[in-house]
Amino acid sequence: MSEHLPILQIVVPMVSSLICILLRRRLLSWAFAFTVSAITLVMSATLLARVYAGGTIIYELGGWSPPWGIEYRIDILNAFVLLLVSIISTVVLLYAPSSVADEIPASRHHYFYSAYLLCLTGLLGVTITGDAFNLFVFLEISALSSYILISQGKDRRALMASYQYLVMGTLGATFIVIGIGLLYAVTGTLNMADISARLDEVGSNRTVLVAFAFLTVGMSLKLAMFPLYLWLPNAYCYAPSIVTAFLASTATKVSIYVFLRFVFTIFGRDFAFDTMHLDAILMPLALIGIFVGSLVAIFQTNIKRMLAYSSVAQIGYMMLGISFLSVTGLTGGIVHLFNHGVMKGALFLAVGCVVLRTGSANLDDFRGLGKRMPITMAAFVLAGVSLIGVPLTVGFVSKWYLVLAALEQGYWPVAVLILLASLLAVAYIWRIVEVAYFQEAPEDAPEVKEAPFLMQVGMWTLIVGTYYFGISTSMTVSVARKAAEMLMGASS
């Protein structure tokens, strides 16, 4: 059975999502979802270990060999993203029961966990597949289930946020399918490795240029790169706490993986960067995204919205690392993918604890929280410090590689800008620290206890991860470096 691990990685969450609809009891559906997510985590870790030792794994569906059949192709980049998605999903589900009980009516819990597992299936499927149209189908599965999950927020603005995300996300996915269609017209195949081989023979052709343009715009919409990020703040702010934590750490990262796969593996580094000058567009937009995200975050009064704008800035960092077009730059971008998932997950889980106990995520309601909920605020500060990039945290590791890559290429101004943006992160984290620790709670503030045990366990797991992967960087950096070398080496 173990040679079927790639397909089981998808089939297990998909079938479980449907079984979850049939389980009507609240706690049973949660326990079932958590068990399935843990099994998925074990499978992802096994796949990463196998790929790291043995090289790319290929699995053909239906017994049809590629290019006629769909194949699942797992190389080191894939496996890394699979691991990130599974880890975040399992930890968030561990944290989930009290938060979901507070924010979602009891009669709908089994539907909620079913949609969550379907979203997990979609994200894993996007990462694992080696067929372009299959990628679009899984992308739409994950997108539709995330629209459902986001609309479950208690505030009525969650409905409008989900609707706007739906319109923009569908436009992005349709752009991607137009690009895939044009690639199919030129090459006659949908298998990613085969498209890459045939594009070499075709050379430069106007259809290929148009396909590249459509795909880039579509993917930028999905990964919330600078001008196309407008769906993100509202969607993350009004969604239920665990949905925000899950989506903020995984959905945009998977879209960045799709970007890397299309630009480096399918189109090839030479076409994308030498012919189409993608780096000339990517680097300025990434830098603007970093500054716009950080600056707007400083002025927000809702903590979840502030963290959402901070996510826009961090996505800018990842795209900046990609635009350097060197092994160090790609290593920085890919390792920041993992690190940001862990950091942001921890931050949103901490905010979720506060929302559970105080009912609000506004800055005003954080006053004096340092004394009232000391453990949660300590967790928040520890994770926030990682956003700034203090040594010993994962944030430092990513920024180190990004600055190193900038200096390697001789882009001194860019390195200075990266360090400046870290100062902006200090600004928006310090606002919360000041309000929580140095201001007194108002007299009519309710008595609050700490969050329940499982929520603390989930949150602290990610905080420990933030520091563990910051101190012992061998696993993440070596995997990211291997992935970067593979992407840079797979030129065409």
Partner: protein
């Protein structure tokens, strides 16, 4: 009541033929246009016509919402189950060739089963969507 009689009589005549046509489209997907999705939608259209003419409560007595929900899950489980059976019989996922004693018959059986699963799920989902929309704003 008089104006409804023509509608009710014609609907009573049509609904069985709609369902029969849906089954025809389902099983002739190999040889002509058709297949699971189209058949499922036509099948659900029969039930929706019934609900429009006779009222939602009558239709929900025939096809209870909780039962329809079970069929939603059942269809995809049939599909995934076919794939897993192929896994257990030694092929890769959804390798229809190993389902029967020779590959051609295996392909026939495999396609039949997966299209059946798709048809059941699509019909149930369409009915659930209709129940969801039609049942709002009545209380």
């Amino acid at each position: 009541m008089n104006s409804n009689i023509v509608l009710r009589a014609v609907a009573k005549l049509f609904i069985p033929f709609i369902m029969l046509f849906a089954l025809y489209v389902q099983f002739h997907g190999d040889y002509g246009p058709g297949g699971g999705f189209q058949a499922g939608v036509i099948f659900a259209a029969g039930f929706i016509l019934h609900a429009l003419i006779y009222g939602l409560e009558e239709t929900q007595k025939v096809a209870k919402p909780s039962t329809v929900e079970i069929f939603v899950a059942l269809g995809v489980l049939i599909y995934a189950g076919t794939g897993v059976v192929s896994l257990l019989k030694g092929g890769t996922f959804l390798d229809y060739g190993v389902l029967e004693h020779d590959p051609v018959h295996g392909q026939h059986l495999g396609i039949l089963l997966v299209e059946l699963g798709v048809g059941i799920t699509v019909a149930s989902v369409m009915m659930t969507i209709f129940y969801g929309f039609a049942g709002r704003g009545r209380s």
